[in-house]
Amino acid sequence: MLICENIECVRGDTTIFRELGFCLQEESLLLLKGPNGAGKSSLLKILAGLMPASKGQVLWHDKPITGNSDYLRDLMYIGHKSGVKLDCTVRENLEFWAKLYDTEMLVRAAMQFFDLTGFADTYAGELSAGWQRRVALARLIVAPCKLWLLDEPTNFLDDDAVILTASLIEARVKQGGIVVIASHIMASGIAAHTLYMKDFQHESV
């Protein structure tokens, strides 16, 4: 269960959002909606623990996320930077994650799901941006995490890959996971709660 209590985000002199709160049970999908600069990425970073909130706290199973290694174990964050090493092959990239989570047997399935089997021994740097994004998303299959924080996961993806990603997210939610996603594209088709960033904007913005 993910609870956000009264989160405020300040960057420099600007308050990007304030008094933001929500409670997500298992099997939930939360869509963050808002224009550029509304704070979707910042909120995801706060939820991931990469950035501290200037006020408020985030709770995972009723425990604060700061210094909470159980939370980090359950969490998979994919931000704008894909986390894909360009000097490694697709297989090596996924095996890095598989070794961390002890799931070597899932690497082949992950590659198959995103049609990467043919590129298994290609260096990620030689792939197009869309295919690199597929490699980034493939780690969602390799790493069995309960909470997914995804920032514009469908960037660069073609229509087929968007459908694959949507089905992956739907499957994760149905299996009891929680997915928080900032996306311009993903919306209809999956039953989701929606959070509009403008509801929490500072008055002067």
Partner: protein
């Protein structure tokens, strides 16, 4: 496999790939020592081989500094390190050890040959090797601090070198004192202090940079 080993393996593997820096540092090291050998001549070289090789090692590691964390920062790997349930300090330690294995060990491997070319006799070669082995991990550890300080700034390379070079001076002073027992003990002590310090400081700097 523990996260330490996974990161260590990846660091070493990537360093030996094209553009990874391992062969570059070794080539630079060989060039510097060779130039000094020809420049100083056999008698001077015999007396100063240890100092020359130590300085050459320091300067060569500087060429690898921009690659220490910058690639990981750009592709988002550093961000993911912060999100691992393992303390960042341990992963940083793995990176430092990996860099030492990839950058320094090849240089150490060619050092006996270079020493022979520099007209150094057998016993002194052993002393020089001990010095280099003891001084080099400290050099890499300090380099890690310099690399972490300039994370995210596009033209950090020169700044890294300028910050790190004054830190190298104590190492160089002891390394150049021709292998006396006290100097070796000091170098060992510096290593035991520098490595944990570098892990903590680098990790803190990385956390700040990812904000």
């Amino acid at each position: 496999m523990s996260p330490f080993n996974i990161v260590l393996q990846q660091t070493v593997r990537l360093a030996f790939r094209k553009g990874g820096g391992a062969f570059g540092t070794m080539a630079f090291y060989i060039i510097i020592v060779t130039l000094f050998t020809f420049g100083l001549g056999p008698e001077s070289m015999n007396a100063h081989a240890g100092a020359v090789m130590c300085v050459a090692l320091l300067l060569s590691t500087l060429t690898a500094l921009p690659l220490f964390y910058e690639r990981d920062n750009e592709d988002g790997t550093l961000e993911q390190y912060l999100l691992q349930p393992v303390t960042l300090e341990i992963l940083v330690c793995a990176k430092i050890c990996g860099q030492w294995l990839a950058s320094v060990v090849p240089m150490l491997a060619v050092s006996p040959l270079l020493a022979i070319m520099a007209n150094v006799d057998g016993e002194q070669i052993g002393r020089i090797m001990t010095l280099l082995v003891l001084a080099s991990p400290t050099v890499i550890a300090l380099g890690s601090i310099g690399a972490a300080l300039t994370l995210g700034s596009k033209r950090g390379g020169l700044l890294q070198s300028l910050i790190v070079m004054p830190l190298y001076i104590p190492v160089l002073i002891f390394a150049a004192s021709a292998g006396e027992q006290a100097a070796l003990l000091f170098l060992g002590g510096m290593l035991f202090a520098a490595l944990p310090l570098a892990c903590f400081v680098s990790a803190a700097l990385i956390r700040i940079s990812q904000d």
